[in-house]
């Protein structure tokens, strides 16, 4: 049999389920196959072996011209590629004996194996680095031993021949290269061939000046021109609270900075901004921050009113400093007037104690409070009043009052008057109803008919008491009239008081006058004569000393009053109060 194909390698992708992969060339033994599983992503190759383990495989079709299959115990995954390649043994196994048969089959098989070996060499040669057939290479051999070749690259020498060459970088280091002020930096690089070390030098800039305008500090504290390029303070103790003024020259020595300094009070806020003073070139010390509150122009310098905020307490004389200013924003619009405290007479104040404090509105009896969050609305509404609920009541009109059927509205005096004025039936009949207060029942309102009231009146009526009946004071069937009441012996007839200054008490009863007849001697004259001299006078005296009172010389028209002191001598009483009961 001839060998008409040069195929000696098959490649296929795994899918996680296929275990059988075909090879399409002839092998004389299953060991002539090399099976490689390659992980696609990493390129890692795994040469598998014949067997029954999870990574092993078996072979079919050995000796077949069309090939056979490699059957994996575990199917390669979709991330794996299967390569099956023939790898014939480089041996010759056909043994011809002299004077014996020369069988064609074994001879052809030996030729086939040789062809296989040639094909396999060609395949491997096809994967090597070569120079083209139209060019030459004098020496394709590398003569350096392994130690010499270590850590070197494969290259070509000046003749184009192979060599192991240096150039492999084994380490890299970087360092700063200082520069001088005003000059560009110079980068450096060096490579040590023996070690493969690459050293790079990178230029770095010098420490920069602190931001701001450069001025020198003067420890002179006088409120005067500090001189070009200088500034001073009104106190060298910057942090003690006594340093309240900066005196800044109009020039930093080269440029006019007046407009800049005098713009520091542009803000409408009380705090105009903050001025920061840093030492140069090292801004760490001194470092002082002042709060600026005002600016005042002066000849050749500007006065800046400041308040110490933070930083150093002093600056050395002639120290070079950098001044920078941070402007405060303009003052915002004033807040609306709001009340913090809500007071109710006789009640505790409601005070907003914190910005998160919440004012809670509570509805009292008869009042409802509702809120609408969407419109920021609080609504106070009175509840409708009823016999069981306090609330808001609508006033009844005169017409509604007159009709007298409405149970939800309140009657007003005007409505009641109008309703009464509008009554047309003014004729009272015995069946009409009368409402009255029962004095014997806590004045509870009750009603009865007119006839019921009339029934209370005795059929004979009541007659006015006579003088004799009044004086007898024993009848229960006659009525006392104003004209007869004075006839009652129980009624006070005369009462009053007089004073030493010759005047009578205004509200006297039954007295026409009192006669002052001398020290401690008086006479009470009655408006109406008593019926007899059997009346009962009583008097008391009010004064600073003890007094006794005696009545004498009584008549139906008057009675004498004598007032004595404790020694029995006639004496004025101060004030004398008297009353007399009797029959007039």
């Amino acid at each position: 049999m001839t060998i008409s194909t040069t195929t000696l390698k098959n490649t296929a992708n795994g899918n996680g389920s296929t275990t059988s992969f075909a090879y399409t060339f002839k092998v004389f033994a299953e060991t002539e196959l090399t099976v490689i599983v390659r992980t696609t992503a990493t390129g890692a190759e795994s040469v598998r072996a014949i067997g029954t383990g999870s990574t092993n495989y078996s072979v079919t079709g050995v000796g077949e011209t069309s090939g056979g299959n490699v059957v994996f115990v575990t199917a390669p995954t979709s991330a794996e590629t299967v390569t099956i390649i023939r790898n014939s043994a480089l041996t010759q196994g056909t043994d011809y004996q002299p004077a014996t048969n020369f069988p064609a089959a074994s001879h052809e098989e030996a030729l086939d194996k040789l062809t296989h070996i040639v094909q396999e060499l060609d395949e491997e040669m096809g994967r090597t680095v070569k120079v083209s057939r139209s060019t030459t290479i004098s020496s394709s051999e590398i003569t350096d031993d392994a130690d010499t070749r270590a850590s070197k690259l494969l290259g070509f020498d000046s003749d184009g021949d192979l060599e192991s060459t240096t150039g492999r970088v084994s380490s890299v280091s970087v360092s700063n290269v200082a520069t001088s002020s005003g000059s560009p930096g110079t980068a450096t690089a060096s490579f040590t061939t023996s070690s493969g070390a690459l050293a790079l030098g990178i230029p770095i800039g010098q420490t920069g000046m602190a931001a701001g305008v450069s001025l020198q500090y003067s420890t002179t504290t006088t409120d005067a021109d500090p001189g070009a390029g200088f500034f001073r303070t009104n106190n060298t103790n910057l942090s003690g609270g006594s340093c309240t003024q900066l005196y800044i020259q109009d020039s930093d020595g080269s440029n006019t900075i007046t407009d800049w300094v005098q713009s520091w009070d542009d803000s409408t806020s009380t705090t105009k901004g903050f001025v920061t003073i840093c030492g140069n070139p090292n801004h760490v010390s001194p470092f002082v921050v002042f709060r600026v509150t005002a600016i005042t122009d002066a000849t050749n310098y500007t006065k800046v009113t400041v308040v110490y905020v933070a930083g150093s307490s002093s600056i050395s004389n002639s120290a070079e400093c950098s001044l920078s200013f941070t402007r405060a924003g303009d003052k915002g619009s004033d807040a609306d007037n709001v009340f913090k405290t809500i007071s109710v007479s006789g009640q505790d104040d409601v005070v907003a104690d914190a910005v998160t404090d919440t004012l809670t509105l509570a509805a009292g009896e008869g009042v409802d409070i509702t809120t609408t969050a969407g419109t920021d609305t609080i609504t106070f509404a009175g509840e409708d009043t009823s016999v069981t609920n306090k609330g808001v009541v609508e006033l009844a009109t005169t017409a509604e009052t007159t009709t007298g059927t409405d149970t939800a509205r309140a009657v007003t005096p005007a409505g009641l008057h109008g309703a009464l004025a509008g009554l047309t039936d003014t004729t009272i009949t015995t069946s009409d109803t009368v409402i009255f207060a029962d004095a014997t029942d806590s004045n509870a309102l009750k009603e009865d008919t007119v006839q019921g009231i009339l029934d209370l009146v005795p059929s004979s009526g009541l007659s006015a008491a006579s003088v004799a009946e009044m004086e007898a004071a024993s009848s229960n069937t006659v009525a006392v009239t104003p004209g007869r009441i004075t006839r009652s012996p129980l009624v006070l007839k005369v009462a009053g008081a007089f004073e030493n200054d010759g005047s009578l008490m205004t509200s006297t009863i039954g007295v026409s006058s009192v006669s002052d007849n001398g020290t401690g001697t008086f006479e009470i004259n009655f408006s109406t004569n008593f019926g007899s001299t059997y009346f009962t006078p009583v008097a008391t005296a009010h004064g600073t000393a003890a007094r006794s009172i005696v009545f004498d010389a009584r008549s139906t028209s008057d009675v004498d009053v004598y007032v004595f002191d404790a020694a029995g001598s006639a004496a004025d009483p101060g004030n004398c109060y008297f009353h007399i009961q009797g029959d007039q």
């Binding site: 010759g502 509200s507 007295v511 026409s512 006058s513 007849n517 001398g518 020290t519 004259n525 408006s527």
Partner: protein, 160 residues
């Protein structure tokens, strides 16, 4: 309308006055009519001729010499003879109290056999006895001046 009184002279020559009741006067159309009615009603007929209607302010403010009051044409004044007698009675009243005190002082001096003290008490008592006769009240022309005169030998008067 100021308060008014009706003065009149009693049969013993002393002066009295009526304090009218306003309620009584209100019965009449005018105050004068009421006062005249009061004269007719409350002053004995024999004395009515002396009745005069005066303002209350016409009466002396102090009643210390009330029993010395008398009418004149326009006002009520003190009868100074009666007033001096009233004032002397008051001096005697205080003098008598002082004599009682000096009796006690004399008794103590006697018990102490203090002749000087006894003599001093005797002298003072004699002075007190002579006071009504020796104390000069003639210079006073009205009650207020009279009341201001008070012997230095006597203690201050209480508010009487």
């Amino acid at each position: 309308m100021g308060k008014k009184n009706i003065t009149f002279t009693k049969s013993d020559g002393s002066m009295a006055f009526l304090m009218p009741s306003e309620k009584f006067l209100e019965q009449y159309e005018t105050e004068e009519a009421g006062l005249n009615a009061l004269i007719q009603k409350d002053i004995p007929e024999a004395l009515r001729s002396s009745a005069k209607i005066v303002e209350n302010s016409a009466l002396p403010v102090s009643r210390k010499f009330r029993n010395a009051w008398k009418q004149n044409d326009t006002a009520v004044v003190e009868d100074m003879t009666k007033a001096r007698a009233i004032h002397l009675d008051r001096i005697r009243e205080y003098r008598n109290a002082e004599l009682v005190k000096e009796d006690v002082n004399y008794q103590r001096a006697l018990e102490a056999n203090d002749a000087d003290a006894q003599s001093a008490v005797a002298t003072k008592k004699q002075t007190l006895r002579d006071l009504p006769a020796t104390f000069n009240l003639s210079g006073a022309t009205n009650g207020a001046e009279l009341d201001a005169l008070w012997p230095s030998e006597l203690p201050e008067r209480a508010d009487d």
